[in-house]
């Protein structure tokens, strides 16, 4: 079933059956502008000095969390939540972090458990982890069966992950991806076995549960920035930089439009 955000793309008013839908012109202009900025920072930054990103508390804890699992000789559990599929950018961001985490678990020889509700995510995660173990130099330590499809049903998935947490008692738990109501079920069970928990999601409602129940929470965009911070990969850092430039433009836009609206309340040019 396509997710909600895709519906926006499937459905269109049939008012203007031309090749170009003029009502979407503002979006096109903004998209082209944004793309230009991203491409600029990507291909210019590399030749320039390395851009330094501010610290994000949850990310400094990643290495600590893996080290802890190794010391305690317990596994580490990473799960992307029930709400996403591979088409969703959040899942890709989560995969990025998984790749980084897997490289460290490979070198520490710490078992990495990855239960998921989506068979496609399972396939991709197996590739990501295999490659990470290969890169770390320990391809034989990879256990493909630890990356497993548990159930597509929301609460079947929650029950399965809960069972894994309470039986295998992971020392560290990463809840990174798109979560729905299962968020707190997993986070509280993880807390009950004394795991360090690092969570991050783009589901705004579930953020409140993670904030309350987890040790560290990556809020929305921080999840996307995280892979750049962890890997210090220039191309990801460049796109974080471009996001910042876009934010400055948005702030300027809001300020200008607000002043305009206060002077001339009848105008509506800022509405999309």
């Amino acid at each position: 079933m396509p997710h909600m955000w895709v519906v926006y793309a499937i459905s269109l008013p049939a008012a203007d059956p031309g090749w170009f839908d003029s009502s979407r012109l503002p979006v096109l202009i903004c998209a082209i502008l944004s793309i230009a900025i991203v491409l600029y920072t990507t291909y210019h930054r590399r030749s320039r000095e390395r851009f330094k990103m501010r610290e994000i508390a949850g990310l400094k804890a990643v290495e600590e969390a893996i080290g802890r699992a190794t010391e305690m000789a317990r596994p580490l559990l990473f799960t992307p939540g029930w709400g996403g599929d591979i088409q969703r950018p959040t899942t890709i961001a989560s995969m990025n972090i998984l790749g980084h985490v897997a490289q460290i678990t490979a070198s520490y020889d710490c078992p990495l458990l990855y239960p998921t509700h989506d068979p496609v995510i399972m396939s991709v995660a197996q590739e990501v982890v295999r490659e990470a173990y290969l890169k770390a130099g320990y391809p034989d330590r990879m256990r493909e069966d630890d990356i497993r499809y548990v159930s597509s049903s929301q609460f079947g998935y929650a029950a399965a992950v809960d069972g894994m947490i309470s039986r295998l008692k992971p020392a560290s738990i990463f809840l990174l991806g798109t979560f729905e109501a299962e968020s707190l079920i997993l986070a509280e069970t993880g807390n009950s076995v004394g795991a360090i928990q690092i969570a991050g999601t783009d589901s705004t409602i579930q953020l409140s549960f993670f904030i309350v129940a987890c040790d560290y929470t990556l809020i929305g965009e921080e999840l996307f920035a995280a892979s750049g911070y962890l890997s210090q990969d220039p191309s990801i850092l460049a796109s974080v930089r471009s996001q910042d430039i876009l934010k400055v433009l948005i702030v300027v836009f809001i300020l200008l439009a607000t002043i305009w609206a206060t002077i001339d309340p009848a105008s509506t040019w800022w509405q999309f």
Binding site: M4, V7, S192
Partner: protein, 269 residues
């Protein structure tokens, strides 16, 4: 048996809710204007009108959906309206049929003449649009496998023009699609019974009139039960609902008391 702090919070909640349910005391509820509007709308429909009920929820939210749906169905059957059920989510399909059949028995309603359940169609937007063109083409047969044309109640029911309105029973954003496509494209009147968590999402649509009426959450169910004069699980749950809320507030306060006392003992941090 070793119990930790969390176990005590669990026991507290279980005791609070079970006790509140066993007491059986039902706090008096005053129907809100929103609920009243829904009641008056259903009440004003002429006898025999066809009402389309869309079960747009997952099976797991049944505990909150059931009191809402049962109150609505009781009102519909008692007014001799004729509901036709559909489902936009596969998981809600069986649930919707079960609810319609269960309440129908209370009122001696006959399947096929007084109510019909068409079942599930995948691709919700396509389903809504296609029913706007032709309901029988979308559902050549009903949930039980009987041909549409052999169901006496549905003779002459071809598009949304032939139904008095659509009522979406939902736990998520599916009511949106009814508003956008059912109402937006075909102008059918859309109302909704939704879980408490969704009420704020649909408030703007209610205000703009795109949504005709809305009843939300267990509280809404209790209010509706009061209006139709038949007590149900909504009213029974109200005391438990309030008590559990107060219990959570109490836990937050106790948590802080414990924290500040231990901090004072520990001399700071």
């Amino acid at each position: 048996m070793r119990l930790e702090a969390r176990h005590y919070t669990f026991i507290g909640l279980a005791v609070t809710v079970v006790a509140a349910m066993l007491v059986g005391f039902q706090p008096d509820v005053t129907p809100s204007p929103d609920t009243l509007r829904m009641y008056e709308y259903i009440d004003s429909l002429p006898e025999g009108s066809i009402v389309m009920l869309s079960f747009d929820h997952e099976a797991s939210s049944l505990p909150e959906i059931r009191p809402l749906a049962v109150a609505l169905l009781r009102h519909i059957y008692s007014k001799n309206l004729r509901p036709v059920g559909v489902a936009l989510l596969a998981e809600g399909t069986g649930v919707g049929y079960g609810l319609m059949r269960q309440v129908a028995r209370e009122y001696d309603k006959k399947y096929g003449e007084d109510y019909v359940y068409l079942g599930f169609r995948p691709q919700y937007i396509a389903a809504i649009l296609s029913m706007g063109e032709s309901v029988p083409a979308t559902f050549p047969e009903d949930y039980l496998g009987r041909p549409y044309t052999e169901l006496p109640m549905l003779v002459g029911v071809n598009t949304y023009d032939d139904v008095a309105g659509v009522i979406s029973v939902a736990d998520g954003s599916f009511t949106n699609h009814w508003i956008e496509y059912g109402h937006g494209r075909y102008g059918v009147r859309v109302s909704a019974f939704v879980t408490a968590a969704m009420v704020t999402t649909y408030d703007p649509y209610l205000a703009s009139g795109q949504l005709h009426a809305m009843v939300g959450g267990l509280r809404g169910a209790a209010e509706y039960e009061k209006l139709i004069g038949i007590g149900g699980s909504g009213a029974r749950g109200m005391l438990a609902q309030t008590c559990s809320h107060l219990y959570v507030i109490l836990l937050i306060i106790i948590g802080n008391v414990v924290y500040f006392r231990s901090r004072r003992k520990g001399g700071g941090v």
